[in-house]
């Protein structure tokens, strides 16, 4: 058969997007992902990354928790019987969690220094996203532990208060962080990630004040339901923003 001669591609017009065709295209792609065992859901992605998390990760997380426990104990002694002060300290530590997430700066710097950024940015995750996924695993592992610690420190009656103080700042700050980072890309994204980290570090004292003044309203008598709803709403926001960020809906970010 005679082959077609040289094509000068000047008169091509792209047809409009057909939703059915698009769905078929994405389904084919997902089927391709499935053949190598790569999951598309957040749960599957967390499970996959757990396979790469080594003992050093868990040791590091345990060390952070021990430091927090010691500092909380110290704050408890300093605060005496003032439960609010203890809760505020708890909230402060909680809010500073996302700062740790933004401290992927050395990792990013190392990536740029070694010319790895281009390879990483063309992959399934880029480095900030991979770091975010690891933070998500951190949060999943640390939050229950910290909740138990808070409950133990505050007594059973203070459980909901402890949970609110602990979860709300962390979930909100992380969620906002994911939303901001999800809008940025490339070097600009990485630099902003560092910037956000520094900003959150500066904001921590402000968050401390916020926790002292606002959070008591949530744990006043008779507002446990409000607290529970707040925690749930923040949790939902955190999971949705994390999922969107980690799944990377846009090809360029």
């Amino acid at each position: 058969m005679k082959r077609k001669k040289t094509i000068l591609f000047t008169d091509y017009a792209v047809p409009p997007v057909v939703q059915e065709q698009k769905r078929a295209c994405v389904e084919n792609a997902l089927a391709g992902m499935g053949t190598v065992g790569r999951g598309g859901t957040l749960k599957e992605q967390v499970k996959t990354q757990l396979g790469y998390v080594g003992p050093w990760f868990w040791l590091g997380l345990a060390a952070v928790l021990v430091v927090m426990l010691v500092l909380l104990g110290e704050a408890s002694i300093q605060a005496g019987t003032q439960k609010e002060a203890l809760l505020a300290t708890l909230a402060l530590f909680s809010a500073s969690g996302p700062v740790v997430a933004c401290l992927s700066a050395p990792v990013l710097a190392r990536s740029y220094a070694n010319d790895m950024w281009e390879l990483e940015e063309a992959s399934f995750y880029n480095l900030p996203r991979l770091t975010a996924l690891r933070l998500f695993i951190c949060a999943l592992a640390a939050l229950p532990v910290m909740t138990v610690l808070a409950v133990a420190g505050l007594g059973i009656t203070g459980a909901i208060q402890g949970l609110t103080a602990l979860a709300v700042p962390f979930l909100l700050a992380s969620g906002i962080n994911y939303c901001i980072l999800g809008r940025l890309r490339g070097l600009a994204g990485s630099l902003c990630s560092i910037g956000i980290g520094l900003l959150l570090a500066v904001l921590c004292p402000a968050l401390f004040l916020w926790a002292e003044e606002i959070l008591p309203l949530l744990w006043a008598d008779g507002t446990q339901v409000v607290s529970a709803i707040t925690v749930f709403a923040c949790g939902l926001f955190f999971v949705l923003s994390a999922r969107r960020f980690i799944r990377n809906p846009s090809i360029t970010y």
Binding site: T10, L30, V36, G37, Q45, T48, A122, S123, Y125, I251
Partner: protein, 296 residues
């Protein structure tokens, strides 16, 4: 599977790297040919999603890849021109790290990494640090990582740079075997690589599409314009100053010259069947010739 570039433009400030580029890339090996600064790397980065287009769009089976997110990225295997590595990593560490970034399950990734290292002849170097690797070994490791996760679309920017001829031939055979039902976009200065494995050649100049088609088809553009002659040395040197020469070989007091010209350059010149190098030189003789792969 088909990738379509629809009037893709990329500007960096006032400089336009790719302008109104349109092409259709069905499954198969596509060779991207053009001189330095033609926009090859920019085009590949656009396709890999590292850069966003300034105008136009890239489509996979008619769907804009920008809206496909991870389902597009999951299908990509990419080897950049500037291939970096973490020097403290061993070959296996590197592939496992890339598997984590590619979201591959670890048991699968480990088995695949070992298989790929064998395939690129680094099986015995699994636990050796990359910083001790030669340029060719690093390049082979880069090719292995591009093949991780069995991507349906492979983008390879100068994959044969730094490989010796034996390694290049091995790579070409490996790629031909791999790319049977996949889409591979390959950029290289080494015309022979494209000639031997690409079913379709895309020639770009100053960010614009110049020619595209099967090698035999696009060679029609220089059919009857390739000449060979044997001349006294002095005349041959005069001739080579006036025309783009693809071959100049001393033969005693004479010289054999192969050149590209619209008309017969001298008495006794005979027409010769054209090759991609002739085509390259015909279009890019004024662009500054690369020493690797252009002159014989």
């Amino acid at each position: 599977m088909e990738i379509t570039f629809d009037r893709v433009t990329k500007r960096f400030g006032t400089k336009t790297a790719v302008e109104d580029f349109s092409a259709r890339l069905p499954a198969g090996v596509h060779g991207l040919l053009g001189p330095n600064g033609a926009g090859k790397t920019t085009l590949m980065r656009l396709m890999a999603g590292i850069l966003a287009t300034s105008g136009g769009q890239i489509l996979l089976d008619g769907q804009p890849v920008g809206s496909m997110g991870q389902s597009y990225r999951a299908q990509l295997g990419y080897l950049p021109q500037q291939f970096g590595y973490y020097p403290t990593f061993t070959a296996l560490d590197f592939l496992l790290y890339m598997a984590a970034v590619k979201g591959l399950p670890k048991p699968y990734a480990r088995a695949e990494a070992e298989e790929l290292l064998e395939k690129v002849r680094l099986g015995g170097e699994t636990n050796r640090k990359i910083k001790t690797f030669s340029g060719g070994m690093k390049q082979r490791l880069g090719i292995a990582q591009a093949m991780q996760g069995k991507p349906a679309i492979m983008i390879l920017d100068e994959p044969t740079a730094g490989l010796d001829p034996k390694e290049r031939i091995f790579f070409r055979n490996m790629l031909a075997d791999y790319a049977r039902d996949k889409l591979v976009l390959l950029s290289t200065h080494i015309v022979a690589d494209i000639e031997s494995i690409a079913g379709n050649v895309i020639v770009i100049k100053k960010g614009k599409l110049l020619l595209t088609g099967a090698p035999d088809d696009i060679l029609q553009a220089v059919q009857g314009k390739v000449w060979e002659c044997s001349l006294p040395l002095r005349e041959a040197e005069d001739l080579s100053a006036r025309y783009p020469v693809t071959s100049f070989r001393h033969q005693g007091n004479e010289a054999f010259v192969r050149l590209v010209a619209d008309y017969s350059p001298c008495d006794g010149a005979t027409q010769a069947p054209p090759g991609l190098e002739d085509l390259y030189l015909y279009y890019f003789a004024d662009e500054g010739v690369e020493s690797d792969g252009i002159t014989a």
